[in-house]
């Protein structure tokens, strides 16, 4: 018993040492967040501030909590879901994405997109700089990028220049998945048009689009507009992920009205280059009862829900197996 306690203390000490030894080239500060009284996923989380361009960006590392010799050999990089507070990814009050991956041996880096930041600029200009810093401080060779909700647009813009970014960041992106990311809203009744037009309070947004998410996790509407313009853009015409050397998995919740199939399917077809052939490495799926899932997934259920961790994340995890 004593040996195990000593081992545990040593491992904590090692974690502290590794934190201290992180290169500070691009970091203005490092911080270890420990909540002694209440055990949460954030107790092992390390927060960094990274300078990129004219701004400083907050990045968090959620280390893997389960190690296995035959486990996954990649790290996962997520960006903010934008429509929701970042906390929804690790402390949603229900089943959350980040601890789910951590417990399966995957370290997760969460890059936080500041409010009112155009996603195209963030993905094309800022994220490459942030990834240089992240890559310098991770031993993992292979990376997976995860686009959650609207934040996935930033990932898509980044991947548009994936080969170029791989050279500069030394980050080999093997695969990417998009969970509830809409790529264009240029059609009647689209969420983008509704949200841009209606001054929707978080409670109203929650009621209509994401009933399973806590109201306090819904981002303020003002965060999604910069200079009066939405932070999102028409990624369907502005982004091309075909033949970029990255496997891509698109997931459109069957009853998701924020990122419905009509805002994703065309982008999937553009990426695959075909509507009718199965193209290796490009996948489209609609989480819902039609695919033997427990529920028809709305947007909130795709962001954080017990059904997400029971039905959808295992499918993504299996697909990522490489």
């Amino acid at each position: 018993m004593k040996k195990r306690q000593i081992g545990f203390i040593l491992s904590l000490a090692m974690a502290g040492i590794s934190c201290q030894s992180i290169s500070t080239t691009n970091y203005t500060s490092t911080q270890v967040e420990v909540k002694a009284q209440k055990r949460t996923v954030t107790e092992n989380c390390r927060n960094f501030l990274i300078e990129a361009g004219d701004n400083t960006y907050k990045v968090s590392l959620f280390p893997r909590t389960y190690n296995t010799l035959a486990g996954p050999e990649y790290s996962l990089l997520l960006v903010s879901p934008v429509l929701f507070e970042d906390e929804v990814l690790y402390n949603s009050g229900s089943a959350s994405i980040i601890p789910w991956f951590n417990s399966r041996g995957v370290s997760v880096w969460l890059v936080r997109i500041p409010p009112q930041t155009p996603l195209e600029k963030f993905g094309r200009v800022v994220l490459p700089e942030i990834n240089v810093a992240i890559r310098k401080n991770s031993k993992d060779q292979n990376w997976v990028l995860g686009g959650i909700s609207l934040g996935g647009q930033a990932i898509a813009h980044y991947l548009n220049d994936a080969p170029k970014h791989e050279l500069t960041t030394q980050m080999r992106v093997h695969s990417a998945f998009f969970l509830g990311t809409g790529f264009d809203y240029e059609y009647p009744g689209s969420f983008g048009r509704i949200y841009a037009k209606e001054n929707m309070a978080p409670a109203e947004f929650q009621k209509r689009f994401a009933p399973g998410i806590r109201v306090e996790h819904i981002a303020a509407r003002g965060n999604l507009f910069a200079g009066g313009k939405p932070v999102w853009s028409d990624a369907l015409n502005g982004v091309n992920l075909k033949d970029k050397g990255v496997r891509v998995f698109f997931l459109a919740g069957k009853v998701d009205d924020v990122a419905p199939s009509e805002s994703i399917y065309k982008f999937y077809v553009k990426t695959a280059g075909s509507e009718v052939k199965n193209i290796p490495g490009v996948l489209f799926k609609q989480p819902g009862r039609m695919n033997r899932h427990a529920i028809n997934f709305d947007h909130g259920a795709l962001i954080a829900s017990p059904e997400l961790t029971a039905d959808v994340l295992p499918e993504i995890f299996n697909w990522l197996d490489f």
């Binding site: 059609y187 009647p188 009744g189 209509r208 689009f209 069957k254 009853v255 009205d257 419905p260 199939s261 009509e262 994703i264 399917y265 065309k266 075909s274 509507e275 009718v276 489209f284 799926k285 609609q286 819902g288 009862r289 039609m290 695919n291 033997r292 028809n296």
Partner: protein
Amino acid sequence: MQLHGEKHQLTTSDDWKLTIEHFPSLLDASKKKKHPVLVCHALGADRNYYKANEENSFVRSLQRAGYDVWLMDLRGRMDAGETGVLFGHHTYSYDMDAYIREDLESAITFVLQKTGAKQLNYVGHSLGGMIMHARLGTLKEGRVANFVAVAAPMSFVSLSHQIFTLYRARGLLRFIPVVPIHGGAVFASILPAAFYHPFTRAFVNPDNIDDAIKKQLMRASLTNISKKEMRQFIMLAELGGMFSADGSVSYRENLKNISVPVYLIAGRSDELADPATIRDVYERVGSRDKTLETFSRSAGFSTDYGHIDLIAGKVAHKEVHPRIIDWLDKRN
């Protein structure tokens, strides 16, 4: 079904019998609408589901709004006489092109003759809408004034697990003379829903239709599907769009030739006509006057609508029918 109109039988130029049931406007003549409405049903079904929910049925909604309603059956439906499985005057030997060229031609001509109108409104659900998409785009039909297409795709998104299971069984078509939907549905209607639930869910949101209505439709409104029809649907998935039976004409490509006002309706939880496919139609149709609407909870409707409940759902008479009538009224 308690609603009954005046039944008419007509004969197509290739000698098939069709049934049309007439339901006149319930308003006085001064409030009668400009054009009559011809209504056509989906694949593997006949006109009866338009009469489901009786006083809250789609037919009654149109009648009460002042429309002269004509419900049509495509060929092979039982009211026009039994179609032989192996032998008989007619067998299940037709394809969707026959609907497009012959049945619609006869039905439109008949209604215009009977009413004296020069044009009509057309409402088609699923297959009923698809064949009108094809006729308008390819045959340049000029007698349709306004077109409401309810859950009528011209392509598929990726197949659901259940539909893919059926798709994988397509080889069985070689060994059967017809897809026996009618007998299967009648038999299933006496079984507990658990036996067929996963498959019916592809056609209807189970939370949005009364069980009694569902059973009634299974007994009285589902019909056999010819092998050629089914093959054309399989082509739809394999070739990426609706084609003529010989594969030479892409009806989807020809959507650009459509110029009449079009109202395209989708149900958010529809597993057959996914809203992504209805958006595809919306973008391809050449009409300047075109409307796209998805019936979903977030849009303020009671639920996310499925395929059949857009017509026969619990409160379709309060949510869907009024939207269709409102759209028609503005053009009549």
